[in-house]
């Protein structure tokens, strides 16, 4: 039972994570969510399913909302990745974070980081979305607490605050 352990192949990943460039040696098959949670220690990004079903792990890659649980970390080489931890970086909540807090767009909070990142991507490309556009942008993110009513209200409120 003492077979020599195969060393997993690793490669150097260079990416801009929440505004700062960093380099890490990561195994080729490592998922972005595992990189974020276990290597970069950013646990705001959540895992709610066994892969690509719930949206709790949504992060931004070059501004686009992506489920990090079905994205290889190596795909982010030389790219910019943003997680929920980036949004309140200047010591104040982002308009989406403030709205989700004040309008109770969050209850248990587990889907919230992914939900806010999906909404963030929407507002960056479309600062004045309609309710239907909000629904479509968040349709890959499951929430079990709110019935989505206050999530839509929160995004709407953030849109208003940004005008």
């Amino acid at each position: 039972m003492h077979e020599p352990r195969r060393r997993p192949k690793k490669r150097l990943l260079r990416l801009r994570l929440n505004g700062r460039w960093r380099e890490d040696a990561v195994s080729e098959g490592m998922l972005l969510v595992d990189y974020l949670r276990d290597v970069a220690r950013l646990t705001g990004t959540k895992m709610g399913c066994d892969g690509g079903e719930c949206g709790a792990c949504t992060v931004l890659i070059d501004g686009e909302a992506v489920p990090s649980c079905i994205t290889l970390a190596s795909r982010c080489d030389e790219r910019s990745v943003e997680t929920i931890e980036a949004l309140a970086a200047q010591g104040r909540l982002s308009r989406l974070q403030r709205a989700f807090h004040e309008r109770l767009g969050t209850q248990c909070g587990f889907c919230t980081p992914g939900m806010i990142m999906a909404a963030e991507a929407l507002l960056r490309r479309n600062p004045r979305p309609t309710d239907d556009e909000i629904r479509i942008a968040l349709s890959g993110n499951l929430c079990r607490c709110t019935g989505y009513v206050k999530i839509i209200e929160s995004v709407r409120e953030a849109v208003g605050a940004g005008l």
């Binding site: 709610g48 248990c108 079990r144």
Partner: protein, 778 residues
């Protein structure tokens, strides 16, 4: 009784964001999987591949010999059962002798990393000798079926037979008697956070610390002491942030005990994270339920009698089963005035993952049948569905036939609100083809007045500490699982002391620090913990008032405290700020600690009949809702266009959170009504992912217009009752009634998926054809 008017004046009525909301929106909130486990071992569970079988061989020696494996445990490592009711604990953390459902844990491994743990699982050798397996209530109850549990003949966990009033006379007096059968699919809580547990055993001190997703740390604490044969003073259970519960985490779950057993066996720290599939298999949700319901009704809509038979397919172990089958009958009452009620309930064992408590525990499926049948009988009698509900209202205060207290009752106002808001009178019967309106009412308890682990202790205890810093720390065992219970505690303490909410810090659900609490179940926290928190705050206030009185040289009864200023009653200008009063009070006795408690009196704890404690509560919430729906007869697809819901929560301590709870519960009812169901193929779950378990997405989710009705319960904290569960049960019947209104089709199965709607439509066409043919022939 508490001072309602002053409380009303004090609160900003829009509501308060959650005190832990900023942690949630920033990603700082740490859930179990987020806790530091860098050096922890990884736990994995080996699960049974068969639905029913004897374990004839189980050999873990090869797995134990694998490098990097620190512990392998099997049923041999824990000879103690765990469960809910002391009389019905029939489940081992790891199966012993026999497995009773596919996916039941049979062994577990702790290893240095996930890969090693998974390899070790593959090295465990076992042989299971298959037994006949039963996947339906009928098959399990059939004569000659192999018993899942030797002491339970007929595979019946419990049968309940209750009769109140003269049912026969009721049916004789009725102008219309109808009997129908309904079937509701099994569903799952599907909270977004998968199950996880982190356990650390210190072999040097013999102490165990478990951080886990439990809604009731106290039960887990009891079960850990039992299953690990430990002195309970050596155990600490801590609740981190929890990603939803809905009842999934009320009972102690097998993986929680398994993780603790692994931590002790490996003398270290073990992180167990279940997959989504395993989280589904752990289950404990709403059972598949068959209902036969018979109602009698007068021409004026008065219900004269109710006879109901319920069969629940409970899964392989007891869990909450006895409670669920009792709730299903007990809560036939308490909503309307019904002169006679007969109930026969059967909780059946089957070779499937065990069912348990889920939001609206036990009441939802029977309420569905009841509200559908009432509507259909109203239609037959040419009565308006709303008028029929109005004809059967209770008058509070009263006691139901089964001895449940009804102390406040805002149902009439709830009905008025949704009738007006939906423009029911103007629109019913005048909607375009394929569109319909339906309504239903529902209710739920504000905490079980008799707890499951009955000890005679108060139902809730809250400690408050006030020290030199002027901050008030509230210590409560109540588990905030996202419903906002910690925020509720902070609000009632701040309101009672009339101090800023910012001064309050809530420390919750850590059995080493917080007083014992029965946890987050049966919507008990606002009512019970809220009352205990007010009690504690009033004691603290009297200490502060006494200190202020001495300082101001006045009598305590003349001291007023408004917005952190203590002054001698009207006219006198002398006053003291909060900080000075705290300083004066500390001179007298040092750091102030007080304790508040709340107890439901014996007369609230239900009837004397067997099982009579279930359903008992100090206050029922009441809800009415109207659903507008569209049915596409070509595809069978049902779309929920809009919901109007009103809930009587006594008084909304935090209106924002109350709205959120009402919307969430209505929506969860919608999931059960339109799309959610669990299915098994030879015991293998076919739904065990968030793709196959079809909870509604944001695209399927309608606008839910919410109205809060405040009936000011005489016993609730500031008059409050529960708000999280009462509205759930009304959704499905309101929707099915709306479908009936839209296309005249009476559906008797949940969920109303397109295939079920199409089947019913085809059936109706066939029947029409046969009727036409018969007419032509005659």
């Amino acid at each position: 009784m508490t001072s309602i008017p002053s409380a009303d004046q004090k609160t900003a009525r829009r509501g308060t964001p959650l005190i832990d909301g900023i942690d949630k929106v920033t990603g700082r909130a740490r859930y179990t999987a987020d806790l530091d486990h860098e050096n922890a071992l990884v736990g994995r569970i080996l699960r049974s591949p068969v639905s029913h079988g004897e374990i004839v061989r189980l050999d873990a020696s090869k797995a134990r010999a694998l490098e990097g494996v620190l512990a392998v445990i099997t049923g041999d490592d824990c000879p103690y059962t765990y469960g809910v009711l002391p009389i019905a604990m029939n489940e081992f953390p790891l199966a012993r002798g026999r497995v009773r459902y596919r996916g039941e844990p049979i062994a577990a491994v702790a290893a240095v990393d996930a890969k090693t743990a998974e390899r070790a699982l593959g090295l465990i050798e076992f042989k299971l000798e298959k037994l006949p397996a039963y996947y339906t209530s009928d098959a399990a109850r059939a004569p000659g079926a192999v018993l899942l549990h030797e002491n339970k003949p007929g595979n019946l966990e419990r049968d309940v037979h209750h009769q109140f009033g003269d049912v026969n006379q009721g049916f004789t007096e009725a102008d219309l008697v109808r009997e129908q059968t309904f079937s509701c699919a099994e569903i799952n809580h599907a909270q977004i956070e998968p199950h996880a547990s982190l356990a650390e055993f210190d072999p040097l001190t013999g102490r165990l610390t478990v951080q886990t997703v439990s809604q009731v740390g106290y039960y887990l604490h009891l079960m850990l002491a039992r299953c690990l044969e430990m002195d309970s003073s050596h155990i600490r259970v801590i609740k981190p942030f929890i990603g939803g519960g809905f009842g999934a985490r009320v009972e102690t779950l097998n993986f929680e005990i398994v993780t603790a057993l692994l931590a002790r066996a490996s003398a270290g720290k073990v992180m167990m994270q279940l997959t989504r599939e395993e989280t589904f298999i752990t289950h404990r949700a709403r059972p598949q339920t068959d209902i036969r319901l018979k109602l009698g009704m007068k021409k004026n809509g008065r219900i004269t009698a109710c006879e109901c038979e319920v069969v629940q397919r409970g899964g392989a172990y007891a869990g909450y089963g006895i409670i669920t089958i009792l709730y299903a009958g007990a809560l036939l009452q308490g909503l309307y005035d019904i002169p006679a009620v007969k109930y026969d309930g059967y909780r059946v064992y089957a070779n499937l993952p065990p069912c348990g408590a889920m939001r609206g525990h036990g009441s939802v499926d029977t309420r569905h049948a009841f509200e559908c049948l009432v509507d259909r009988m109203a239609h037959e009698l040419g009565l308006d569905p709303i008028a029929v509900r109005r004809a059967n209202l209770l008058q509070a205060p009263t006691r139901t036939l089964n001895d449940l207290m009804v102390n406040s009752y805002g149902l009439a106002e709830c009905i008025d609100k949704v009738e007006r808001a939906s423009q029911w009178r103007e629109r019913i019967g005048r909607l375009p083809p394929g569109k319909g309106l339906g309504m239903a009412c529902s209710h739920y308890v504000s905490g079980a007045a008799k707890p499951i682990h009955f000890t005679g202790e108060p139902h809730a205890v809250v400690n408050l500490k006030l020290d030199f810093d002027g901050g008030v720390t509230a210590l409560t065992g109540a588990a905030d699982i996202g419903q906002g219970s910690s925020t509720m505690v902070a609000i009632v303490v701040a309101e009672t002391l009339d101090i800023s909410l910012d001064r309050i810090r809530v420390v919750a659900a850590d059995t080493a620090v917080t007083p014992k609490d029965n946890g987050a179940y049966s919507s008990r926290i606002t009512f019970m913990v809220g009352n205990a928190a007010i009690d504690a705050a009033e004691k603290m206030k009297s200490i502060l008032v006494a200190a202020a009185a001495r300082k101001l040289e006045a009598r305590p009864e003349d001291i007023e405290c408004v917005a952190e200023v203590f002054r001698v009653g009207s006219g006198d200008q002398s006053s003291l700020p909060f900080a000075d009063v705290v300083a004066a009070a500390l001179v007298d006795e040092g750091a102030i600690t007080v304790k508040g408690s709340f107890t439901c009196p014996p007369e609230a704890q239900g009837g004397k009949h067997r099982g009579g404690a279930v359903g008992s509560t100090m206050g029922f919430s009441y809800a009415a809702q109207v659903v507008e729906a569209s049915v596409d007869e070509a595809t069978g697809r049902v779309t929920v266009d809009k919901v109007w819901v009103a809930l009587d929560c006594g008084r909304a301590i935090n209106p924002l959170a109350v709205e959120g709870q009402i919307q969430g519960s209505v929506w969860m009812g919608m999931g059960q009504a339109i799309s959610e169901e669990t299915n098994y193929l030879d015991g293998l779950p076919a739904h065990a992912s968030l793709l196959e378990y079809r909870m509604p997405t944001i695209l399927d989710s309608p606008s839910i217009e919410t109205y809060i009705v405040e009936s000011h319960d005489p016993f609730g904290p500031f008059g409050a009752k529960e708000a999280s569960e009462g509205a759930l049960a009304g959704f499905a019947p309101a929707l099915v009634n709306a479908i009936g209104n839209a296309i005249g089709l009476n559906l008797n199965e949940l969920p109303v998926t397109p295939d079920r709607v199409m089947d019913a439509l085809i059936q109706r066409q066939r029947q029409a054809k046969i009727a036409n043919a018969l007419k032509a022939a005659s």
